[in-house]
Symmetry: C2
C-alpha cells in the first residue's frame, strides 16, 4: 500500500495561476514557503516563496477528494468541445472522440493556422515557473523604471562577454564588473549557452509556444480522448522533460501496482509516463493509467500487437497493428513509439555489432522483415499511420530500433542510417499535421554524444529529440541511472528535449518503488542542470534559494527546496537527529570549529562593518 | 565489523606483471576470468581474461596474511635506499627519512635528470592495463606482420575522419568503411578526443612517464616515509584518478572505523585517500592509515594545526603550521593541501557571493588574514614550504579556498583570481623540485565547466587539476554524488586529472559504508567514461567484454566485469533469484517473447547462414 504521507512535499502548498487569453486555464504549481532570514544583529528578512513545476495534477492538491476508481476530472473536455471539430463515435471498445470526418485535430494543425489554444497558454504559464514573481521581487527592490532594466542589462552584458586575467582587472579602479556582480541576489542567473540555433526566450508567451509548435520544434502530446491530461510541452527551447516507464512485463507486477507506480513517478517529477506493458490485461491496465494520469501517456503499440498474435512475430501484420493503434488512440494514449525508420536493408549491418539490436520494438520489426523478406510494414504504411493519428492528436515518437546497446556500437552506420530515415518520416508526418519527436540512443561515449545531437538537429529539422540516456559506459550495471544521467545532462544541454529515465536496475531486473524514485530524481537533476546551462529563464531561482538557505543554516528550507526533501532530511537526521540540530549554525560534516560557512559569515559581517565605517 | 567476503571480487584472481628496467617491480592487477562463449551450433569460443586496475594492494592478494596491527610490507624501501640520497634522523615523533642535507628527493627531481625510477616503471605498466594482452589477441588473429598494422590503421583512419550521410554511402559499392567496421571485436575502440594539447599515447612507456613528470603535467605522490605505497600517477595524459575522503570529524567515528573505511574505499577503487580528521588522535589515526595504505594518503595540515591551538584561528602561526608539516612529512603523508593562493585582498570579494567561502581551509586562512590584517602566511612562506616538502617528496595540492559553493558563485572574480595565483605558486614550487597539483571547484553549471579547465591548463601550465565535482546544480541534496559525477565526467574528459568524490551525504551528514561504496563506484564510472572519451588505450576493453557477455547471456561474466559485481548480482536476483535464471537466454525486463537480444541473435544467425550460402 502507498503511504500517502510519502506523497506530500513538506513546507509546500498548491497554487493555481490563471490564464489571460483563456480564463478557464488554471495552471497548477507548487509553492515552497520559506522561513525568514535571521541576521546576527537581530534583524529579519522575508524570503519569498519559490514556485516549482508540478506534474502531480489533482493528486497534488490537498483539497482534491477523488479516488483511483473514479479517475481524474476532465480538465480539457470543454476546450476540446469548444473547438467544434470533433465527433463522438462507437469505437472498438467503447465511445470515443475523433476529428470530424477523420480530419486533423492536432495542436500542430491549430498552430499552423495561427490559433493559440488553451493548451498553448497553459504551457506558456507553466514554463515560466515563478518568473513573474521573481521579477516582481527585483522590481520592488529597484522601483525606478529607468534604473531597473539598466541594472539587469549590465549583469547580462558583463556575463555575455569574456574577461581578462583577474590580475589585469585588479589594476582597474573598482576592479571588473564581474567582481561587482552581486551574486547573492536570488534573481542572479548565469547567461546560458545556446547550441546550434537554440533560442531560449526571456519570457514564454503563448505566441512563442504557438510558433514553436507550428515549426515542429516542439509538441504538446495531448490526445482528445485523454481530457484529464494537463498540457505540457516538449521542445529544445523549453524546460527539459523526463519520461518514466512503467509496465507489467510478463514476469511481474499487478494493475494496482502500476497505477501506484504512475502516481509515485509523477510525485517525484516524471513529465510523461510510458506504459510498456507486455503481459495480460494490457488494455485494462492502460485504461486505469489513462483515467488517473494528469501527464501524457506514451506506449509502444507493437507490444500489444505482438500479444494479440500470441508472441509469434511472423503473424504480425499491418492490419493487426492498425487496429491496435486505433484502439489506443480511442482510449486516450498521447504519444506512440513507432519503429518505422528501421529499414530492411539496415538489418544485415547489425550482425557486425557488439550487441546487435537491443530495442525490443526494433528487434521485432527486424525479425518480421527477415522472416517475410519484406520491407518494414510500419515504413510502408507511414502516411496512413500519420493520417489516422492526426484525427486524435496522438503524437508520434519515431523509434530508434537500431540504437546502440554498447559503447562499441555507438554512432555506427546502422544507427545513423536509421536517424536519416527518421528525418524523412518527420517531414512526411508534419505534412499530415501530426506532432512528432524522434527517439535517440542508447549507449554513447561522452565525446560522441555531440555528433548524435548535431546530426539529429540537422537531419530531423529540429524536431524534438527524446533519448534513452545516453549511457556513457557499459561497466556499471547497478548504477546505470548515473551512467545515463551523465550522458543525459550533456545531450540535453545541447538541445535534447526529453530524457527517458533509466533506473539502477537497468540491464538487471524490474525497478521497485525506490528504484523509480531514485531514477526520476536523478533524471530531474540532469534535466535541471541542462536548463541552467541553456539559460532557461528562472531555472536558477531554486538553486539560489536553496544555496541561500544553506548559507544561512535554514535547514528546513534547504530540505524543502530540494528535489527529494524526504531523503535530504533523513540523511541529515542520521548524523544529527535531535531537533535542535536543525537550528544549529554548523553541521555534522565539519563540526562547530571548522565550519566554513560560519567563518565566512564572520568575514561578511566584518566587511559590512568596514563599509559602514 | 567488516565482512571479509564483501572484500572479494568474484571470478577474479590477483596477478603480477614484472618490470623490465627494474626487475624488482611487480605490478599488481586483478584479472577477471571469463566463461566460454557458447554458440547455437554447439561450438565454443574461449574468452580471454580481462585485466583491470587494482588499488587494493596486498589486501587484495589472497595469499597475504598480514594484519592491521603489523601494517603492510614496505614495497619501496629498497628502491629508496638504492638511490643513496636519504638519511635517517630523529624526527619530531620518531625516526624518519629525509633527503640528505634537506635536498630534494622527488620524482620530479629524478625525472628532470633523465632518471627512470622503479616508481615510474611501475606506473607505466599499471597504466597499460591489460593492453599487451589485448594486443596479443589481435596479433594472434592476424599473424602476418604486414597486414596487422594496416588493419588497425584502417579502423583508426576511418574513425578519425567524418562521414557523409548514410544514404550517400549506400550508393557506394560495399557501403562505407564505417559499415565494415567489425565492432564485435574486443579490441575495438573509438578514437578519443584530445582537448587543448592532451597527448594520450598508444602505449605507456617508462620514458613517457618520466617526460610527463619532468614537464610537471603529472605527479607520483609517494613520500619516502610511506614505503608501503604502490606508485600511481596523476596527470591529464593518464587514466583519470579518483580520491575518497575519510576522517574522524569532531562529531563521529573511531580510529578502527577509519582504517576499515580506508580498506573499504580502496576495495571499490579509490586511487588516493585523504585523511581529513579534525578530532582528537589525529596523529595516531594517521599512523594507522599510513601503515595500512597501499595508496597515497593526502591531508590538509591546517586542520591539525588548528587543533593544536585549540580551534582558535587567531592563534595559528607559520611556526605551528611548519611543525605540523614536518610531523606529517616524517610520518609519510604523500600529498598535502595548502591554501596558499587565497590572498588577503580577495577576501572582501566573497562578501558579494551567494555562499561566501565554503572551503574549510579557505575560511580558516581568510579569518586569520582578517583578524591580523596581514597576508596569508602560507603565501608568505611558500618557498620555505616547498623546500621543506621536497626533502620528503611530499606532493603539494594547492588548495582552492575560494571555490564556489553554489552555482551562482561559479567562475566569479574570487575564484579565478585565486586560480591565477595557483599558477604562480605552481611555477615557484616546480623550481624547487616539488610535485604539484591544483585543486578546483566546486559548484559549476554545465556550460561553465570548460572555462575552468581551459583557464587552469593555461594559467597553471598543465599542472594536474584535481576537482571536487564540479556539482552542476544545488537542488539535489541526497543525490550530490550524481550532481558531482556529471560535472566530474565532463571536466575529466577535458583534462582534469583527478576527481575528489562526493558522497550522497554531502551537505547533510557523515557518509557511512554504503555511502562510501556508492560514492566511489559513481566516481569510478565518471572517470572511466572520461578515459574512453580521451581515448586512453585499452579503456574500452572492459566495456566490450561486458557487453559481449551481456549479448551472449553470460550473466556471471556480466556481473564479474562490472564495477560493483555484488550489487549487479543482487539486483538481478531480486527479480529472478533462482540459479537457472543466470543461464536463461532472456531476462526479467522483457521476458522471453520480447527479448531483443534473443531476437537479434536470430538475425545474426540468419546473416551468417546467408553469407555462408
Amino acid at each position: 500500500m502507498m503511504n500517502t504521507d510519502d506523497l506530500k512535499y513538506p513546507g509546500s502548498r498548491r497554487i493555481y495561476v490563471n490564464g489571460t487569453l483563456h480564463p478557464s486555464v488554471k495552471v497548477a504549481m507548487r509553492e515552497v514557503v520559506l522561513e525568514d532570514s535571521l541576521f546576527p544583529d537581530g534583524t529579519k528578512e522575508r524570503n519569498e516563496p519559490v514556485r516549482v513545476y508540478d506534474v502531480s495534477g489533482p493528486w497534488g492538491d490537498e483539497s482534491f477528494s477523488g479516488d483511483v476508481e473514479k479517475g481524474l476530472p476532465k480538465l480539457r473536455e470543454p476546450w476540446i468541445a469548444e473547438r467544434g471539430d470533433v465527433e463522438v463515435y462507437d469505437g472498438l471498445t467503447g465511445k470515443a472522440l475523433r476529428g470530424k470526418g477523420g480530419k486533423p485535430v492536432t495542436q500542430r494543425h491549430y498552430a499552423r493556422q495561427g490559433i493559440i489554444t488553451p493548451e498553448m497558454e497553459y504551457v506558456a504559464i507553466r514554463e515560466n515557473l515563478g518568473r513573474e514573481q521573481a521579477f516582481k521581487a527585483v522590481y520592488d527592490r529597484f522601483p525606478s523604471e529607468k534604473s531597473r532594466p539598466q541594472e539587469a542589462q549590465e549583469v547580462l552584458d558583463y556575463l555575455g562577454t569574456g574577461m581578462g586575467r583577474p590580475s589585469d582587472l585588479e589594476k582597474e579602479p573598482g576592479f571588473s564588473t564581474r567582481s561587482l556582480t552581486q551574486r547573492a541576489r536570488l534573481d542572479y542567473q548565469h547567461v546560458g549557452e545556446s547550441w546550434k540555433g537554440g533560442r531560449m526566450p526571456a519570457f514564454f508567451t503563448p505566441e512563442f509556444v504557438r510558433e514553436e509548435i507550428a515549426s515542429g520544434r516542439a509538441l504538446i502530446p495531448a490526445n482528445i480522448n485523454h481530457p484529464e491530461c494537463e498540457p505540457m510541452i516538449i521542445g529544445r527551447n523549453f524546460l527539459v522533460k523526463i519520461n518514466a516507464n512503467i509496465g507489467n512485463s510478463a514476469l511481474g507486477s499487478s494493475i494496482e501496482e502500476e497505477v501506484e507506480k504512475l502516481r509515485w513517478g509523477l510525485h517525484w517529477g516524471a513529465d510523461t509516463v510510458m506504459d510498456l506493458s507486455t503481459g495480460k490485461n494490457i488494455h485494462r491496465t492502460r485504461e486505469w493509467i489513462l483515467r488517473n494520469s494528469p501527464a501524457p501517456i506514451g506506449t509502444v503499440p507493437i507490444y500489444q500487437s505482438l500479444e494479440k498474435v500470441g508472441g509469434m512475430v511472423e503473424h504480425l501484420s499491418w492490419e493487426i497493428f492498425r487496429d491496435t493503434l486505433i484502439e489506443q488512440a480511442e482510449q486516450g494514449v498521447d504519444y506512440v513509439t513507432v519503429h518505422a525508420a528501421l529499414l530492411q536493408r539496415f538489418v544485415p549491418h547489425t550482425a557486425r555489432r557488439m550487441t546487435g539490436i537491443v530495442s525490443r520494438g526494433g528487434s521485432i520489426m527486424a525479425k518480421w522483415s527477415m522472416i517475410h523478406g519484406r520491407e518494414n510494414f510500419l515504413y510502408d504504411h507511414w502516411d496512413e499511420i500519420c493520417e489516422l493519428l492526426a484525427a486524435y492528436d496522438v503524437g508520434i515518437s519515431i523509434g530508434d530500433g537500431l540504437r546502440p546497446g554498447s559503447v562499441a556500437d555507438a554512432n555506427d552506420f546502422s544507427q545513423l542510417a536509421e536517424l536519416e530515415i527518421q528525418g524523412d518520416l518527420t517531414k512526411r508526418a508534419w505534412d499530415r499535421g501530426v506532432q512528432i519527436m524522434n527517439e535517440g540512443p542508447g549507449h554513447v561515449p561522452l565525446h560522441l554524444i555531440r555528433e548524435n545531437m548535431s546530426k539529429q538537429l540537422e537531419w530531423c529539422f529540429e524536431a524534438p529529440f527524446y533519448t534513452l540516456g545516453p549511457l556513457v559506459s557499459d561497466i556499471a550495471p547497478g548504477y546505470d541511472h548515473i551512467t545515463g544521467a551523465v550522458g543525459g545532462a550533456i545531450i540535453a544541454q545541447e538541445g535534447c528535449a526529453m530524457l527517458c529515465y533509466v533506473t539502477r536496475k537497468e540491464h538487471l531486473g524490474l525497478p521497485d518503488r525506490e528504484d523509480v524514485r531514485e531514477g526520476v530524481v536523478t533524471y530531474k537533476l540532469a534535466a535541471h542542470a541542462a536548463d541552467i546551462a541553456k539559460g532557461h529563464p528562472g531555472a536558477q531561482v531554486r538553486d539560489n534559494a536553496l544555496s541561500k538557505a544553506r548559507f544561512e543554516f535554514r535547514w528546513e528550507d534547504q530540505f524543502n527546496l530540494s528535489l527529494d526533501p524526504h531523503r535530504a532530511r533523513a540523511f541529515h537526521d542520521l548524523t544529527l537527529p535531535h531537533a535542535g540540530a536543525k537550528k544549529a549554525h554548523f553541521c555534522s560534516m565539519c563540526g562547530p570549529n571548522f565550519c566554513a560557512m560560519k567563518l565566512t559569515q564572520e568575514v561578511r559581517e566584518a566587511e559590512r562593518n568596514a563599509n559602514d565605517a
